[in-house]
C-alpha cells in the first residue's frame, strides 16, 4: 500500500543540541507503525515536528502527507487534515464532562450557542466506538479511571475525523487489562483503515500490534523493521541501545533466611472521602533484610494506598494495624516519624509528589534528611554539594552539573534524583512505587542494579509495579494484591505472569 506519510531528512536543532539529524520516517496507509527509542532519542521531537508543535521553518526537511508536501504552522493545521496526537500526559479537563471534553475547542454549536443535545448524542456514539458505551456522556472525566480517560482521549481524536492517530506512550499509566483493551482498539481501528503511530517503551506491546517499527537512536533513524515475519524484543533493544543487553535484569542474591526488616499486621485503610470504603483491607505481610519484595496487582488494587498509608499516614483515614521495623513497634503517624523509623517511599508520580521541579539536583537530593547536612539549623552548603555530586555520579544522573534544575531532566534522570533523595535518607525499608514508569531500557537497568545493590547491602526493598516482567525480573518474593487485600504470596522463582493473573482473577471470583 502507498505511504500515507513520509518525513524526509528531518533535522531539528535546539541551542547546542541536534535533536533530530536527517531522520527519514515512512508510514504506510492503514498500518500500525511503532516508533521506538530510548528517552531522549528524539521520538517526541519528531512527533512534535509532525503535528506542527514546531512549525514549518523551525526544522529542515519535508513532511509529505497524502502525497503533498505540508507546511504546518500549528497543531490546528495538522489536525485539520486528520493527524491527531494523543500525548502521554492526558490533556483532559477533569471537572468537565466526557462530552464537553470530547468537543472542547470543536464545540457542536451554531453561532456560539452550544447544542447540548447534539453534543451528548455524538459523544455517546463516539464512546460506543471506543468501547465506553456504558459511560454516560455527562459523567465528569474526574470520575473515570486512567484507562477510561485514555479512551476518552481517543474518542476525542475520532471526533476530529482522524486518519493518522499518534499515541505517545498510551499504556504507560494503564494496567495490563486496560492496556490490552487499548491495543485491541488499535487493531480495530486498523481494520477500519485508520493509520496509527505507536510510541511505546513496552516492547511486548509493540511486537504484538505493530506492522513495522522505526527505531530512533540519538536523533537518527537507525533501523526500520518489518514485523510481518515476526520480530524479537531483543532485536529491537539491540537497535535502541546500539548493543545487546544480555541481561535485562541484574542477578539476584539469596537472602531467604535473613531476619525480618519490617512486619505489618492487620493494616486497614479507609478512603479519605468515602469513610465506609476499605481501600486496604486487613493486610499483613513482612519483608526480610536483603530481600526485594514485589507487590503485584491491577491499577486500583490499593498498592499505592497501602504504601502511602504506611508512610506516615500520607493517604486515607481510619487507619488501623501494627507495624514493626527491626523487631520494634514503629509509630508512624507523620512522614517525619516514618523517615526516622527507617522507612522511605519513592512515589509513582515523580513530578507531582517526588521533586521540587524548579529546584536544582543539589537542593532536591538532601531534602528528606536535611539534618544530615546541617547542624540542625544551618545547612552546610559545602557538604550539600558533595552529597549531591556523590549521588549524581553514583546513579549516573545525566546532567550538566548538580546545579541543573530537575524540571529539565529526562524522566529516567528525574527518577534517579528521587531515588538519590531516598538513598540519602538511608532507610532500612525502601518502598519503590512504579520505579521505572515511562523511562527507557538503559535507565531501567541502572535502577534495577541500584535495587539489587541495596538488597545486597542488607536493606529491604519493596517494589510496586504494574509491569509483571519487571516484578518477575527484579524481586525475590511476591505478594499479589487485589481489591485492597493480599490474595496470594509466592517466591518469584515459582511465579509467572499467568499465575499472577490467575491469582487475581480467582480472588475476584471468590468475592462475588
Amino acid at each position: 500500500m502507498a505511504n500515507i506519510l513520509e518525513m524526509r531528512g528531518i533535522t531539528k536543532e535546539f541551542p547546542g543540541v541536534k535533536a533530530l539529524d536527517q531522520v527519514t520516517f515512512e508510514v504506510e496507509e492503514g498500518e500500525i507503525h511503532a516508533l521506538c527509542g530510548e528517552n531522549g532519542a528524539g521520538k517526541s521531537t519528531l512527533m512534535k515536528v509532525l503535528s506542527g508543535v514546531y512549525p514549518h521553518g523551525s526544522y529542515s526537511g519535508d513532511i509529505v502527507y497524502d502525497g503533498k508536501v505540508q507546511s504546518f504552522g500549528s497543531i490546528r493545521d495538522s489536525e485539520e487534515i486528520g493527524i491527531i496526537i494523543i500525548h502521554q500526559e492526558l490533556a483532559l479537563i477533569p471537572l468537565l464532562s466526557i462530552a464537553e471534553n470530547i468537543f472542547l475547542g470543536n464545540e457542536r454549536a451554531t453561532r456560539g450557542i452550544i447544542d447540548w443535545h447534539e453534543t451528548n448524542r455524538r459523544a455517546g456514539e463516539l464512546l460506543e466506538r471506543v468501547g465506553l458505551g456504558r459511560e454516560h456522556p455527562e459523567t465528569l472525566v474526574d470520575d473515570l479511571g486512567l484507562g477510561k480517560q485514555q479512551l476518552v482521549e481517543i474518542a476525542k481524536a475520532l471526533s476530529k475525523n482522524v486518519r493518522l492517530l499518534i499515541l505517545d506512550e498510551p499504556t504507560s499509566s494503564l494496567n495490563e487489562q486496560d492496556s490490552e483493551k487499548l491495543l485491541e482498539l488499535m487493531l480495530e481501528f486498523k481494520a477500519k483503515g485508520i493509520t496509527s503511530i505507536l510510541i511505546s517503551h513496552k516492547l511486548n506491546e509493540v511486537s504484538k500490534v505493530a506492522d513495522s517499527i522505526t527505531v530512533l537512536r540519538d536523533g537518527a533513524a537507525v533501523a526500520r523493521i518489518d514485523c510481518k515475519g515476526g520480530v524479537s524484543e531483543d532485536e529491537i533493544i539491540r537497535d535502541m541501545v546500539g548493543r545487546s543487553l544480555d541481561d535485562r535484569y541484574p542477578p539476584k542474591t539469596d537472602h531467604s533466611l535473613a531476619e525480618t526488616a519490617m512486619e505489618v499486621r492487620n493494616w486497614t485503610v479507609h478512603h479519605p472521602l468515602h469513610a465506609d470504603r476499605k481501600v486496604v483491607d486487613n493486610v499483613s505481610f513482612h519483608v526480610r533484610k536483603g530481600e526485594v519484595l514485589g507487590i503485584a496487582g491491577l491499577m486500583g488494587a490499593g498498592r499505592t494506598e497501602l504504601a502511602m498509608s504506611l508512610f506516615g499516614h500520607s493517604w486515607g483515614r481510619g487507619i488501623s494495624g501494627e507495624v514493626e521495623i527491626d523487631g520494634r513497634p514503629a509509630e508512624m503517624k507523620t512522614v517525619r516519624q516514618a523517615i526516622n523509623a527507617g522507612l522511605a517511599y519513592a512515589t509513582e508520580d515523580r513530578k507531582g509528589y517526588g521533586l521540587v521541579l524548579d529546584d536544582t539536583i543539589r537542593r532536591n537530593v538532601p531534602l528528606a534528611k536535611l539534618e544530615k547536612i546541617s547542624n540542625g539549623l544551618v545547612v552546610d552548603s559545602h557538604r550539600e554539594a558533595e552529597v549531591a555530586e556523590t549521588y549524581r555520579k553514583r546513579l549516573n544522573i545525566k546532567s550538566s552539573s548538580i546545579e541543573q534544575e530537575t524540571v529539565n531532566l529526562s524522566g529516567g534522570n528525574q527518577q534517579k534524583v528521587v531515588l538519590s533523595k531516598w538513598l540519602f535518607a538511608d532507610p532500612d525499608v525502601l518502598i519503590l512505587d512504579e520505579p521505572t514508569r515511562g523511562i527507557d531500557v538503559g535507565a531501567k537497568y541502572e535502577i534495577y542494579c541500584v535495587i539489587r545493590e541495596l538488597a545486597a547491602a542488607g536493606k529491604a526493598v519493596i517494589v510496586i509495579s504494574s509491569e509483571m516482567p519487571e516484578l518477575l525480573g527484579v524481586t525475590d518474593r511476591l505478594y499479589v494484591m487485589n481489591e485492597g487485600r493480599f490474595v496470594g504470596e509466592m517466591p518469584t522463582a515459582e511465579a509467572s505472569q499467568e499465575r499472577i493473573m490467575a491469582t487475581i482473577i480467582k480472588s475476584a471470583g471468590d468475592r462475588t
Partner: protein, 401 residues
C-alpha cells in the same frame, strides 16, 4: 539556562566570552540589580544630581523603610506559595494600637512597642492558622483580614488622627545613630559601619568562592566576580560616606540592614528556609519528604504579621501620628516589590535581596518622579508598567533558559 555543556570548574579559552556568557545565563539574578542601577543613574541625571544628595538619599531610605521591612516578610509568604493582602491594613492597625497605647493610655513606649509587635504577630498567626490548617486560600483569608483591620483601625481611632508621640518614640524612625568620635558635621561611626559591612560582605563572598572552587562547582568567571564585588564594595562605602556627611546612618537603616542580613541568612542557609522554598515549589513532594508544611506556612504568616507590626510602628513614628488612612494600599507596593525582585507567583522562587532591590526600585521611582514634579497620576501608571515589564522580562528569561 541549563543546557550549556560547560562542565563545572572548567575555565574557558576566551575570558571575555565567558563573562558575557555567564551574565546571559544569570540574567535573571543580575537583571534586577542592573535595573536599579540604571534607574538610579537616570534619575540622578534627570534631577540634576538631587537624587543622590545626602539629604535625599537619607530621605529615600526613611521613606521606604516600612515597605522594605514588609517586603522581606512578603517574600517568605510568596515563596511559600501564598499571598498576604492584609499587610497594609495590619500595619495601619498596629500603628493605631501604638498611638492609643502611648498617647491615650500613657503606656511607656518600649513596652507599648513590644506589645504592638506581639499584636502584629498574633494577627499573622490568626490568618496563618486558617491558611495552614484549614487550607482556606490565603488570597481570601487575607482579603478578609484587609477589610477587618481597615475597619478596626477606623473604629480604634474613631476616625481621628491620634498623636503626637513622645520624642523618644519618634527617634525610631527619624533618629540617627550617635557618633562617639565628635568630628564636626561628619558621622564617623556611620562611615566605619559602612566600611565594616562592605568588608564583611567582601570577605564572605571570597570565602564562598574558595569553598566552591575547592568543591569544583564554581562557574562564575573571576573577572566577573571581581567586578561585581568591587562595585558592591565601592557602592556601599560611598553611600555610607554620603550619609555620614549628612547626619549619619538612620536608626531605621540599621534595623533594615539587620533584617536583610538575618532573613537572607535564614532563606539561603538554614533548613527552615530550605523547607519553605520546597513547600512553595511542590507542597506534596515536600510533605512526602517529611516536611511539616502546615507549621511552616503558619510560621510564615506569623512572621509576616510581626514585620507588618514593626512597619506599623516605624510608620507611625515617622508621621508622628496614627491616622485611619495609614497603610492604605501599601500591600500593593509590597507585593509589587517582591515580584519585581524576581519572585514567582506560583511559589518556590525568590530572594530577600531581590525583594529589597524591588522595593528600592519602586522607592527610587517614587522619589525621583516626585522631584521631577510628575503628578501622582502618571507616577502610578509608570510604576504599573515597570512592574509589568519586570515580570515579563523574568518570564521571557525563564523561557529562554
Amino acid at each position: 539556562m541549563t543546557d550549556t555543556a560547560t562542565g563545572p570548574g572548567m575555565g574557558g579559552d576566551s575570558h571575555k566570552a565567558d563573562v558575557m556568557g555567564y551574565l546571559k545565563k544569570h540574567m535573571r539574578e543580575y537583571g534586577i540589580l542592573i535595573a536599579l542601577v540604571v534607574i538610579m543613574a537616570f534619575f540622578q541625571i534627570a534631577t540634576g544630581g538631587i537624587l543622590l544628595k545626602p539629604v535625599n538619599l537619607t530621605n529615600l531610605i526613611l521613606q521606604n523603610s516600612y515597605i522594605v521591612i514588609m517586603a522581606i516578610g512578603m517574600l517568605l509568604v510568596i515563596v511559600a506559595g501564598h499571598i498576604d493582602l492584609s499587610v497594609g491594613s495590619v500595619m495601619g492597625f498596629v500603628g493605631a494600637v501604638a498611638a492609643v497605647m502611648i498617647v491615650n493610655w500613657g503606656i511607656p513606649w518600649p513596652i507599648a512597642g513590644l506589645l504592638c509587635l506581639g499584636v502584629g504577630a498574633v494577627i499573622g498567626m490568626a490568618q496563618g492558622f486558617w491558611v495552614a490548617y484549614y487550607r482556606i486560600p490565603s488570597f481570601i483569608v487575607t482579603l478578609a483580614g484587609m477589610l477587618v483591620f481597615k475597619g478596626l483601625t477606623l473604629a480604634l481611632l474613631e476616625g481621628q488622627s491620634v498623636g503626637p508621640f513622645p520624642p523618644a518614640f519618634r527617634l525610631i524612625a527619624s533618629g540617627f545613630i550617635a557618633d562617639p568620635f565628635g568630628v564636626d558635621g561628619f558621622n564617623m561611626l556611620s562611615l566605619l559601619i559602612g566600611i565594616a559591612v562592605a568588608s564583611g560582605l567582601l570577605f564572605m563572598a571570597v570565602r564562598t568562592r574558595r569553598q566552591h572552587e575547592a568543591a569544583g562547582v564554581e562557574d562564575e568567571p573571576f573577572a566577573f566576580f571581581a567586578a561585581k564585588n568591587g562595585l558592591i564594595f565601592a557602592a556601599l562605602v560611598w553611600m555610607a560616606f554620603l550619609m555620614a556627611d549628612f547626619r549619619g546612618l538612620p536608626n531605621v537603616f540599621i534595623v533594615m540592614a539587620l533584617l536583610i542580613g538575618i532573613y537572607s541568612f535564614i532563606t539561603s542557609k538554614t533548613t527552615i528556609g530550605r523547607r519553605i522554598y520546597a513547600i512553595g515549589g511542590n507542597e506534596k513532594a515536600a510533605a512526602l519528604s517529611g516536611i511539616n508544611s502546615q507549621r511552616l506556612t503558619f510560621l510564615t504568616f506569623a512572621n509576616m504579621g510581626l514585620l507588618a507590626g514593626l512597619a506599623g510602628i516605624v510608620f507611625a513614628a515617622r508621621l508622628n501620628t496614627a491616622t485611619p488612612k495609614a497603610g492604605l494600599g501599601f500591600e500593593l507596593d509590597v507585593i509589587a516589590a517582591v515580584f519585581i525582585g524576581g519572585a514567582s507567583m506560583s511559589g518556590g522562587v525568590g530572594t530577600v535581596v531581590g525583594a529589597v532591590i524591588g522595593a528600592f526600585i519602586m522607592g527610587v521611582m517614587n522619589n525621583g518622579m516626585s522631584i521631577l514634579g510628575i503628578g501622582i497620576d502618571w507616577q502610578q501608571c509608570i510604576k504599573g508598567l515597570v512592574l509589568l515589564a519586570a515580570v515579563i522580562f523574568d518570564v521571557m528569561n525563564k523561557k529562554k533558559g
